[in-house]
């Protein structure tokens, strides 16, 4: 009797997706773009586990050459949606770079990036890094250890180049944050000069993620900030050493988002909800039972049509560890977070943080009031769509209502000082006050004119 009961329960559980009410989607054949990075995992998992099909969607996933091509694809409609840098929808909407209204109903993950320097630079940094009792370097490593190295290069008249993946990428801001926290000037943008190298100690330039290791190896750059697996790839290839992960930089910082054009969302509201549902299920699956499904996810990602790097390289960061110097493997259980800590909820405060960084480095040339930050965040980040999808999943019995912040006003609790490397707390409700509290960077009414910061 008990057995049949159990069997019945199991079979109901298994059949649940089939009973789920299929949304009446407006467009069922979709094409999504992605960049070969481990944080595209929710897309690959939603495809491979059939979550898209459960929603009546037939999705083709296509790797894109770089972030610019990907964004243009979404803007001109070749792609229906894409795995995007959190800064991209915001920058596109406010018109930094190509102008287009992009929205995001789903945040793809937290953390997942690292900063790697070449072996040569690492050797020069090492004397400035305090060691632990066992002789291994003490983490997190501050950029102040890099400062003497950069100064030595400067004295010799050699430019110190580092790579990041896109002007409005998380990596650009994280690398800048790390450098500035260590007392190095990462350089400003101005409306006339969008190289981002005005007054810079370290010259940052753009390289597509998969080419980072090759560019480092070629000696064009001395270090880079990029998502996984390209930091671990440097370790495996023996060409570089990751010095810090973004988890150590800012605990549980928001990372990629899923971006769609506002037009698409307007024309296909049901489809958007269906996509979001499938992605939430994928995120749940990725974090389920303490990352129990991660090895399987790594296997999927290592296929050549997705990330395509070796299983071991991807697994190194996806399964709760991170390898710094060769052999120095440390536990970083939250290096990649896909669902825990409300990772998938598109918080306004996350959007505001990116906007503050754009302002901090001059990509937003003029001071804006706090209300402006709030308005832009609300026009791009769409928790309303996210919560519709979440509710639908809860109704279908596919998700747990307790996992979603249904009554949030869209702003995260302020991040405490202890969670950020330089101890500057962040509260998304007061962006201007936050900008004033940062040592390096534009604040108040300051402007970049020519090669000078004025005001």
């Amino acid at each position: 009797m008990k057995l049949t009961h159990a069997a019945l329960m199991i079979s109901t559980a298994l059949c649940a997706p089939a009973y789920a009410e299929m949304l009446d989607v407006e467009k069922d054949e979709l094409k999504f773009g992605f960049i070969k990075l481990t944080d595209m995992a929710p897309l690959a998992v939603a495809y491979e586990n059939g979550y898209f099909e459960d929603e009546g969607l037939f999705v083709t996933l296509e790797a894109q050459a770089n972030w610019k091509v990907l964004l243009d694809g979404v803007i001109d409609g070749q792609l229906d949606g894409a795995h995007m840098l959190a800064g991209q929808p915001l920058a596109a909407t406010i018109g930094f770079g190509t102008k287009a209204h992009i929205i995001t109903p789903f945040s793809m993950d937290l953390n997942g990036n690292g900063i790697t320097v070449s072996n040569e630079i690492w050797e020069q940094m090492k004397p400035h890094i305090p060691t632990m009792d066992d002789g291994r370097p003490q983490h997190p490593i501050s950029a102040s250890a890099l400062k003497p190295v950069v100064e030595a290069y400067k004295d010799e008249g050699k430019p110190f180049n580092m790579g990041m993946v896109f002007p409005v990428s998380t990596h650009n801001y994280e690398l800048r944050y790390w450098l500035a926290a260590g007392g190095l000037e990462p350089g400003y943008y101005s409306p006339e000069n969008i190289s981002g190298q005005i007054g810079a100690d370290v010259l940052l330039s753009v390289t597509p993620p998969p080419q980072m290791p090759a560019t480092l190896e070629a000696g064009t750059i001395y270090g880079y900030c990029v998502g996984e697996p390209w930091n671990q790839a440097a370790v495996f290839k023996g060409i570089g050493v990751p010095v810090i992960t973004d988890y150590e930089l800012w605990k549980n910082n928001p990372e990629k988002v899923f971006g769609l054009s506002a037009e698409f969302v307007e024309e296909n509201p049901q489809t958007t909800i269906a996509i979001t549902k499938a992605l939430i299920r994928a995120a749940i699956w990725l974090d389920e039972n303490d990352n129990a499904n991660r090895p399987e996810a790594v296997e999927i990602l290592s296929r050549s049509e997705y990330v395509g790097a070796d299983y071991e390289v991807i697994a190194n960061s996806m399964t709760g560890t991170f390898e710094y110097e060769k052999g120095d493997v440390r536990e970083v259980p939250d290096f990649n977070v896909f669902f825990r800590y409300n990772a998938t909820y598109p918080y306004y405060s996350d959007a505001v943080w990116y906007l503050t960084q754009m302002r901090r480095w001059g990509q937003i040339a003029e001071a804006k009031p706090d209300t402006w930050y709030d308005e832009v965040a609300k026009s791009v980040y769409r928790p309303d769509i996210y919560l519709d999808a979440a509710k639908s999943l809860v109704d279908d019995g596919l998700a747990n209502a307790a996992d979603f912040p249904f009554d949030s006003d869209g702003y995260k609790e302020p991040t405490p000082a202890a969670d950020i490397i330089d101890g500057v707390p962040y509260d998304g409700r007061h962006p201007n006050a936050y900008l004033d509290s940062l040592t390096i960077g534009l604040k108040g009414e300051q402007k970049v004119v020519g090669t000078e910061v004025q005001g």
Binding site: F58, S304, G308, A309
Partner: protein
């Protein structure tokens, strides 16, 4: 009555049979040469009982020497490759490349199975729609998975032929014009000289922007990346055909031209009856060169335009940077080489079919 020596008659019949056999072998030899199988002829000759020593020498030259060269190449490669260490591991030798060729084949089979499963899913969904009384909503759904290696090869071949056909359709008429009229020739010549040496990489950004601007239809008969690659192929493979056609047409025997004048042929008849037949060998030489150039250009174009063919395969593998990437890229290199060789042979065969002169 004269008595015929029966042995003599038999010998003569045998002689005749042999002669016939050799004529056949010689005829077949032409085709073997076209197909790149020239080494079969001496074997057949030896089997038919021709002077064995001469045939052995031929077999040695046509079959053994190339085989030994290939073997020597493989040995050298297998020996030297592991000594070059890259950040992706040692450069793969023949064994690893073969291994990856098998992996790609198995992957293609796995993908075929996945495709079948996908269509089952679609069937199920359609059934569900019928059950829900929405049979009208059923429509064909394109497969959403990634293409297998064989599909990528096929895409490349389709792209190159599409571009090549456009190129031929433009180049042959222009070439005939330039060949017939001195004025047209001096008008076209400077343009040809300027555009001929331009690399596909320079054309590509322009083609991309133009295609994006002009080809805006939503139904998508062709993917944009396909058009961009194909048109780049067109732009680069136009020139050999154009130049050779012009040359072929211009060098028609003056007597023939005079005959056409005497017969008062109109231009069309002149072109079809006289110009084309005598220019055909050179036109085909041009086409053959064009297809070769097109194939070479295609890989670069596909890499940058992200057309899902062999070029994209190479690029993706380079980006993946896994331990098997280099070996997979080498599989692609051999595939590209072999297909290029086959394409050339196909053109050569066509040329032999259509032309009767020795001017190959």
């Amino acid at each position: 009555m004269t008595t015929i020596d029966p042995e003599f008659a038999e010998a003569r019949a045998r002689e005749e049979r042999r002669a016939r056999l050799f004529t056949r072998i010689n005829k077949a030899d032409g085709w073997f040469k076209v197909l790149g199988l020239a080494w079969i002829t001496p074997i057949l000759r030896a089997a038919a009982g021709d002077n064995p020593q001469a045939q052995v020498r031929e077999i040695w030259r046509l079959l053994m020497v190339p085989l030994i060269a290939i073997l020597a190449f493989l040995l050298l490669w297998g020996n030297l490759a592991p000594r070059v260490q890259t950040s992706l591991g040692a450069v793969p030798g023949p064994a690893q490349v073969w291994e990856q060729a098998i992996v790609l084949h198995q992957d293609a089979q796995a993908k075929a199975a996945k495709r079948d499963k996908f269509y089952e899913q679609v069937e199920k969904r359609n059934q569900k729609l019928i059950d829900a009384g929405r049979a009208d909503d059923i429509k064909p759904i394109a497969y959403t998975g990634s293409p297998s290696y064989y599909e990528q090869i096929w895409t490349s071949i389709k792209t190159v032929f599409f571009g090549f056909l456009i190129a031929s359709a433009i180049a042959i008429p222009l070439g005939i014009m330039a060949g017939l009229s001195v004025t047209a020739n001096s008008a076209l010549n400077p343009l040809i000289q300027i555009f001929k040496p331009v690399s596909p990489l320079a054309w590509l950004p322009i083609v991309t922007m133009v295609v994006s601007a002009v080809y805006t239809s939503e139904d998508g008969l062709f993917a944009k990346s396909f058009l961009v690659s194909a048109i780049t192929v067109t732009l680069c493979s136009l020139w050999p055909t154009l130049i050779n056609t012009a040359l072929g047409v211009a060098s028609i025997d003056k007597d023939l031209v005079n005959v056409s004048k005497v017969l008062k042929m109109n231009t069309w008849t002149k072109i079809t009856k006289l110009v084309l037949p005598s220019a055909l060998p050179l036109i085909f030489t041009g086409l053959r060169l064009s297809l070769g150039v097109g194939w070479m250009v295609l890989i670069a174009a596909e890499m940058l335009a992200q057309n899902p063919g062999l070029g994209k395969f190479v690029w993706d593998e380079f980006q993946n940077g896994s331990s098997s990437s280099l070996a997979k890229i080498m599989v692609a290199v051999f595939t590209i080489g072999i297909i290029g060789f086959l394409l050339d042979r196909v053109m050569f065969a066509l040329q032999s079919l259509f032309t009767f002169s020795n001017n190959r």
